[in-house]
């Protein structure tokens, strides 16, 4: 092929032109929009129940990771369980933002102790905290346990240490709580139902 110098220049300039036009955005419009990635694509799903009011809506929790050993499962999203006969997938504003409770910056992460008169928490170990609580409880019970009342009737009660049970802990926790503390003879035991 014989190209005159003039022809050659023409070709190359148009080539350059085409390339730079492409760079300048003259390329054909992209037809597809960039939709945000569907964020639940490979999450782990777990069924649970909303812990707030007593409607007890079913929820599905979506966790990052596939439960493999090295993946630390972190919940990233919670939404209503569409199968649940009461909420049918719906959630109220509190339920719809459950993830912010689970991942709240105010979640407690380690045991703490506040000494008498102190104005700060100090971080302690579970061992230390539980040992000390057990000791305080036993000492108080040993000291204040009422085996018989004034009339001589066996009453076996302990009234000087009290317990408030949660309103959102499971039946199993509630049952175990009751079993444990009633076995100590505790009477000052209540839950949020009273309030």
């Amino acid at each position: 092929m014989n190209l005159s110098r003039r022809q050659f220049l023409k070709l190359t300039t148009s080539g350059i032109g085409a390339t730079s036009l492409g760079a300048l955005g003259f390329a054909p419009d992209r037809v597809l929009a960039d939709v945000r990635n569907f964020k639940l694509a490979s999450t782990t799903q777990t069924r649970n129940t909303c812990p707030y009011c007593s409607v007890s809506c079913g929820v599905i929790m979506y966790g990052l990771g596939d439960r493999s050993k090295n993946a630390h499962l972190k919940l990233v999203h919670i939404e209503g369980d569409p199968d649940h006969p009461v909420n049918r997938g719906t959630l109220c504003p509190k339920g719809a933002s459950l993830i912010d409770f689970v991942n709240s910056p105010h979640r407690l992460k380690f045991p703490e102790y506040r000494a008498p008169g102190a104005s700060e928490w100090q971080r302690v170990t579970w061992e230390w905290a539980l040992d000390r609580i057990a000791r305080l409880m036993k000492d108080d019970r040993d000291k204040n346990f009422v085996a018989k009342n004034a009339a001589g009737v066996t009453v076996n009660r302990w009234t000087t240490v009290g317990l408030l049970a949660a309103s959102a802990s499971s039946n199993e926790t509630g049952y175990l709580t009751h079993k444990i503390f009633r076995s100590m003879g505790m009477t000052a035991m209540d839950n949020q139902a009273r309030v």
Partner: protein, 290 residues
């Protein structure tokens, strides 16, 4: 005919049509104000799904919070106490947010190609990657919806959860609504449901109940059932349409006229040159006294 189609029908600042030979079913969100309890679950679900967290603000003496739409609050509930002559005290609760107009003013006003798209199913979506933050969508919108990111300067609004709809799920607000004040489906079905609601409302004495689907913007893909009928009570425009000012400036006609003006200046100059040629006193023979 899939509802989840994200094929593009319209694209901002684009000259030629996107391929749209396929016909797609249009979707719509129905907001039935008569069933709304103002619980703000939709707001919460919207923030949760879209990973938005607005400022913890202040209260202004109403239940509105956040007080206004923001770049991180794509929907808010507005509360109005109205003493109506025939109905007594009414607490009107309006879910504010994008109406996904069939003829979107934002898209019309947007100068950045592909920053605003309208999918075949009717959803109008902002593509922040393409957004240049000019603010024109705000002037284009008849409902004052788009808001700008404080940090990134990009425009944001309700996407109707296009990412969820794209995989066949309903938007987050729809799913969460406890009282079915929100529903989602084809526009046709939503209009049918809305009309059925009017029958029930009229039976309960809401004689003026009406469906809000403003034709000025070609209808919307968010449709309201208004038990008291008059949109003004709910602080919505009675006649919603793209401002003629915006039309004036962003229409194809105006654009063409602008370009033609420019071209004609160039052409006129060219022809004048050809006809008259340049004036060059230096080319004149020297005059006396020079």
């Amino acid at each position: 005919m899939a509802l989840e189609s994200l094929d593009i029908r319209r694209r901002s600042a684009s000259q030629t049509r996107a391929p749209d030979v396929r016909k797609h079913t249009e979707v719509a969100k129905l907001i039935d104000i008569s069933r709304c309890i103002g619980c703000k679950a939709c707001q919460a679900a919207c923030m949760e799904w879209n990973d938005l967290r607005d400022e913890v603000g202040l209260t202004n003496g109403t239940y509105n919070n956040p007080i206004e739409l923001t770049d991180r609050s794509w929907t808010v509930m507005r509360f109005y106490e109205e003493e109506l002559a025939d109905k007594g005290l009414q607490w009107l609760i309006v879910k504010d947010g994008c109406l996904h107009c069939a003829d979107p003013g934002c898209l019309k006003a947007c100068p950045a190609p592909g920053a605003i798209v309208q999918y075949s199913n009717g959803i109008v979506d902002f593509q922040q990657d393409n957004c240049i933050g000019c603010g024109y969508c705000q002037t284009g919108c008849p409902f004052n919806i788009p808001r700008y990111g404080v940090t990134d300067g990009k425009a944001y609004k309700c996407t109707l959860c296009s990412d969820r709809v794209g995989v066949g799920l309903e938007p987050a607000c729809i799913k969460t609504c406890p009282t079915q004040a929100l529903s989602f489906g084809t526009k046709e079905d939503m209009i049918d449901i809305a009309n059925a609601r009017l029958v029930d409302l009229k039976e309960r004495g809401f004689d003026k109940a009406a469906v809000y689907d403003p034709s000025g913007v070609g209808g919307t893909h968010v449709v309201y059932v208004m038990p008291h009928g008059d949109p003004a009570l709910y602080r919505m425009p009675r006649e919603a349409s793209i401002s003629p000012l915006v039309g004036l400036w962003r229409s194809g006609f105006a654009r063409t006229l602008g370009v033609l003006t420019m071209v004609s200046v160039v052409v006129a100059g060219f022809f004048h040159w050809m006809k008259v040629g340049p004036v060059d006193p230096d080319a004149l023979p020297p005059r006396e006294g020079e």
